[in-house]
């Protein structure tokens, strides 16, 4: 079996907005991330896939600046991390949101102000309305978080991440715990967001339909970068089969079928 070819973004033609270089993170003796390197050009939607326990959440935490890597760097040209005006973050569905007494617009505006708002100023109100409209959630204004469905909650969190007009969006399994209808709507919203030429994103997902609909490039992580290329190169490959079917989650490529290492100039 010949080694598959993967297509990386062209560094000489495209503007880099986010770069992870040689990141290693150990917990005790275990290297959860091992010399991970990739970069994202402006406007590109990168889907991060891999089996459970492959280090995806750890990588996101390092990218966000919540975890310090043991080696390597995370860089946004022209910005100092962490900065919520540069990186927008959508966490996994938050169950706590049901017991915290808050309105949707407060959640969104809190990210603008950097503290919980007592009252929205005119500019904050406008920005919040814009962010909610961008994710098709204008109707959620005035609603309590406790009254939202799973899909609505995630759309509110997506609006929260977009309200600062970040350069890069980081989404950690936004569709997890959302019912089928909610997930379908959420994927459509993510698709609309992914079409932006300005906003780059890293999306962690286990759902092939989300990946197929939004990914402009796919990175398969299993503690290290196993594959990094265009969706059509990876969709249907052994890697995606491994994560979409639990019975195949432990599937590994044979050594001779692994993709070529990431070229040095890309690292």
């Amino acid at each position: 079996m010949s080694a598959p070819h993967y297509t990386h973004p062209d560094r000489e033609r495209e503007e880099c907005v986010f770069e992870v270089r040689g990141v290693t993170k150990r917990f005790g003796d275990r290297a959860v991330l091992d010399d991970v390197s990739f970069w994202i050009p402006k406007g590109e939607f990168l889907c991060l896939v891999g089996p459970n326990g492959a280090g995806k959440s750890t990588l996101l935490k390092v990218c966000l600046g919540l975890l310090e890597p043991d080696a390597g760097t995370v860089r946004v040209p022209g910005a100092q991390l962490p900065d919520s005006r540069v990186l927008g973050y959508v966490p996994q569905r938050k169950s706590f949101a049901r017991r915290f007494p808050a309105k949707v617009e407060e959640l969104v505006a809190a990210n603008l102000r950097g503290k919980w708002p007592l009252r929205l100023r005119a500019a904050e109100r406008e920005a919040t309305e814009r962010a909610l409209a961008r994710v098709g959630a204008e109707h959620l204004w005035g609603k309590s978080l406790a009254d939202l469905s799973g899909g609505e909650t995630q759309r509110a969190f997506l609006a929260r991440a977009l309200v600062t007009e970040p350069k890069i969006l980081i989404l950690d399994e936004p569709e997890a715990g959302v019912d089928v209808m909610g997930r379908r709507e959420l994927v459509e919203v993510l698709y609309q967001v992914s079409r932006s030429d300005e906003l780059a994103a890293i999306l962690v997902s286990h759902h092939p339909e989300t990946i197929a609909r939004t990914a402009e490039r796919v990175l398969y992580l299993e503690h290290r970068v196993v594959a990094w290329g265009l969706p059509q190169e990876l969709l249907g490959s052994a890697e995606l089969a491994a994560i979409s079917d639990p019975r195949l989650r432990s599937t590994r490529w044979d050594d001779d079928s692994r993709p070529p290492p990431v070229p040095a100039r890309e690292r």
């Binding site: 919520s84 966490p91 915290f100 007494p101 808050a102 959640l107 809190a110 950097g114 503290k115």
Partner: protein
């Protein structure tokens, strides 16, 4: 109206009502954050730590009224210790509180036992169950002063504390100093508990923190509204409970807590 006016004509009742309202309102305002963070048990833990501090003061031959000044740093140190254990992931919330709770209380019993027999007998019951009717003018000034300082700190940090309570990770990404606020909330809770012990006692003080906030959580749809309702319940519960205990001639601390409890169950019935 006589039911209200008659007790107010007596100085000791006036002091008790003011003290109860101040403590009830402040405990409720802090309780909103404690309850939202799922740390309701911490009030009990710190109250028992305060007992260890008061007993240490008594062992050092300090009068019961002034032993608060020993209990204050003692309880704050315990609160910060719990905070450190939680933040470093060495302890889980209930384990940290449970261990400090029992060790501090045992230390308190030991300290009281170690006092030379010739010293005056300590009224442990008043420490455990409070004596709001015995609040003197000096006590009232201390409680009011500490409460004003605590309320100011809370007001200045409220918005950031609220964000960190909603989600520490998201708050940290927005530049909120989450770790510092965690320690501050624990220290503030410790201070408020120590000054409140005089009024409702160690056994009941955590109810002042938990019940109004829990009842308000059932009714309010915004955190600011929840805080306002909790403070209203804390102040109103103290007032009604005290007046009730005066007319029924029963223990004031217990009556206040039962009034707050009744409010909670009422809120449960009419919850949103």
């Amino acid at each position: 109206m006589d039911w209200v006016v008659e007790p107010l004509s007596q100085a000791f009742m006036m002091r008790a009502l003011i003290c109860g309202a101040v403590v009830g309102g402040l405990c409720a305002a802090i309780g909103v954050f404690v309850v939202q963070r799922g740390m309701s048990f911490i009030g009990d833990g710190l109250a028992h730590a305060a007992f260890g501090g008061i007993a240490l003061g008594l062992l050092l031959d300090i009068e019961t009224a002034n032993a608060t000044w020993v209990a204050l740093p003692f309880t704050v140190a315990i609160a910060l210790g719990i905070g450190w254990g939680l933040r470093t992931g060495r302890l889980h919330g209930d384990v940290a509180t449970g261990v400090f709770f029992s060790v501090s209380f045992a230390l308190g019993v030991l300290f009281i036992g170690l006092r030379p027999p010739e010293r005056a007998v300590v009224n442990v019951e008043s420490i455990l169950f409070g004596s709001i009717l015995a609040v003197g003018e000096t006590d009232l000034w201390v409680v009011t002063g500490v409460a004003a300082a605590a309320a100011l700190v809370l007001a200045l940090t409220w918005s950031r504390l609220a964000y960190a309570t909603f989600d520490p990770e998201l708050a940290q990404l927005s530049g909120v100093p989450v770790a510092a606020l965690d320690y501050m909330l624990l220290a503030l809770t410790a201070v408020v508990i120590v000054v409140s012990v005089k009024t409702v006692g160690i056994v009941l003080v955590s109810s002042f923190i938990v019940i109004p906030a829990a009842a308000a959580g059932l009714l309010a749809r915004r955190l600011l509204g929840m805080t306002a309702v909790a403070v209203g319940i804390g102040v109103g519960g103290s007032f009604v409970g005290l007046l009730g205990s005066y007319h029924l001639d029963v223990a004031s601390g217990a009556t206040i807590i039962l009034t707050l409890g009744a409010t909670f169950f009422l809120a449960l019935l009419v919850r949103r």
